[in-house]
Symmetry: C2
Subunit: 344 residues, 2 copies
């Protein structure tokens, strides 16, 4: 039995969802791949850090954080390492970057990934910052060091996009991407179709616990722009940052506009579009009216990506649900890809 | 440089589309994988058979069939081998099963695939018959012989379904499948929404060259049932045949019914659905009304598959275009998978 040692930076909702999937499938993975996957380090910003080269009791770590709010300070592996200490000093094969997003710079996640790959370790990012701000550099570093670098979770939370493109659209060229990439604004716009003003929708969402206090990342289109940048960087080698996206959020959209669109047989959507025209990359996030009769308008659609390719025409991946487990699964499937690729 | 020798059974539209993609990417493949992919045998029912262990001039073979209607009888590789002769006697690494579908038995394609795999050769099927009628047996034979057996083309012509599930939904369990799997009936139903009777639509379609003389495979739901069976067999190990599908086609659907659905805010679709209930597999192809506001109803949707899973909730793959190249690409991407898997 080979061992795959994993270090986790961050242990929030995605990290714990990943942990549950790993725990449930640990013996199947061992049987199928010959790998005993061990979590050896988990760092958090406020809940302590565990580092146990012999392997952390993952079920207990999940329990401690969820029930006690903190790792056990008396645990033999308890330590005060920062995330960067883990990157530089822990003994791992694969680093999982699961720290909170800094939408303006992608840091310090970029440095975490660089640090791990510079040490010849594989890296997985659920954090979209690095893919939006420094993809080309990170990809080239991975290539130079001969390590894996995956990030399926960064767009549509684990839905098959990047790994799918690598495995199922190989040698096909993507010339255009289109999508509804931010589920929160898509939900808000749909509620506005019922005549509700934005403020009421926010209030209900916060009371219901499914909207953040600060919605500007969503409403102002930053999240959508970062995801569009990630798609363009990875699928079309765009080499751009979110600053290059022509971005308008939905903050100024009125209930009248949304209902007017419906009256015209359309839907107002925060549409993300990008491509290459005359050798130049372009990207645009903007509220746009699209026909109600198009697949993107489906009221069951949470998010969607459409790719236009040379060999496979256009195709879409549609996400209908928003489950925590999907984010954890995105990290998990990237880790399974590392096991597959390193078994060659 | 390693060599990958490929035998093709059938050289129709799909086979020639595959050939074009291979020709265009031959040197890229060599660079990326280290494989020189050579077509060594092409058998056809009425256009002759070529067998050249040193490699066929593929561009010339495409030209001969498209311009002369027949392979060159003076070619040194020209022979009278049947498809089964090729399976049993030719020297190849990978067999491509591209012969016409027999919807009622899956034969002789099943025997072709069995013959190749029994000889320890990899097999790719663009023919859905074998996956609908004998999947479990073929899968087990592939496992026993340690060979690859892929069939991405069989449902939605090369759209990422089966390879996507293997690579991007690993360890997730599919509990239900749903889809619009037959593009022709979806087109007919949409035309009926304009008030046109079926006969007029057929007539226009035949005149336009995009509908077959015999539409019963489509209209009576045989094609959809075979595809649904393939999805259930592969994704849920159903072990069923098309005979187990509760099937009703669209032949008896009237323009009034279709327009009535529209008046009720719905669309009439030939819906394919299946899953496991109380340990028993069920599958159903039936004209059903679905809300016009759902993604499946999108007027730009040519075909769609939706999977319900435990770890990734529901997701769909949507096909918008119907291009010959897609069918060729499905075969091509399966071949690329063989190269990848055998490089391990």
């Amino acid at each position: 039995m080979k061992t795959c040692k994993v270090a986790m930076l961050g242990f929030g909702i995605a990290g714990r969802a990943f942990s549950r999937i790993l725990l449930d499938n640990h013996s199947d993975i061992a049987e199928k791949t010959g790998y005993d996957v061990q979590i050896v380090t988990i760092s958090t910003a406020t809940r302590g850090t565990l580092n146990k080269p012999e392997g952390i009791d993952l079920a207990e770590a999940v329990r401690a954080v969820e029930e006690d709010g903190h790792f056990d300070r008396n645990d033999s592996g308890y330590c005060e390492w920062s995330a960067m200490d883990v990157v530089d000093q822990a003994d791992y094969d694969v680093l999982l970057e699961l720290t909170p997003l800094n939408i303006e710079t992608g840091q310090p996640a970029i440095d975490h990934l660089k640090g791990a790959m510079s040490r010849g370790r594989h890296a997985i990012s659920a954090n979209k910052g690095p893919i939006a701000w420094a993809y080309r550099e990170l990809r080239d570093l991975a290539k130079e060091k001969g390590v894996c670098f995956y990030f399926e979770t960064t767009v549509m939370a684990g839905m098959p996009i990047f790994n799918m493109a690598d495995y199922c659209l190989e040698y096909a060229k993507v010339s255009e991407v289109k999508g509804i990439l931010n589920a929160t604004t898509n939900y808000i716009l749909r509620q506005m179709e019922l005549g509700l003003p934005q403020e009421t929708i926010y209030e209900n969402g916060r009371k219901g616990g499914f909207m953040e206090a600060d919605l500007s990342m969503d409403v102002d289109g930053f999240d959508a722009a970062a995801k569009l940048t990630a798609l363009l960087n990875v699928l079309m080698d765009a080499g751009i940052t979110p600053d290059d996206i022509d971005r308008t959020g939905i903050g100024d959209v009125t209930t009248e506009q949304v209902m007017g669109a419906v009256a015209r047989g359309n839907k107002l959507k925060l549409l993300c579009r990008g491509g290459i025209k005359d050798g130049k990359v372009w990207g645009r996030v903007h509220p746009e009216e699209i026909p109600a009769s198009h697949a993107f308008s489906g009221e069951d659609v949470v998010a969607v990506v459409e790719l236009t390719t040379d060999l496979m025409d256009r195709l879409s991946i549609v996400q209908y649900g928003l489950e925590t487990t999907q984010t954890g699964y995105g990290v998990f499937i990237d880790l399974m890809r590392v096991l597959r690729e390193t078994s060659r």
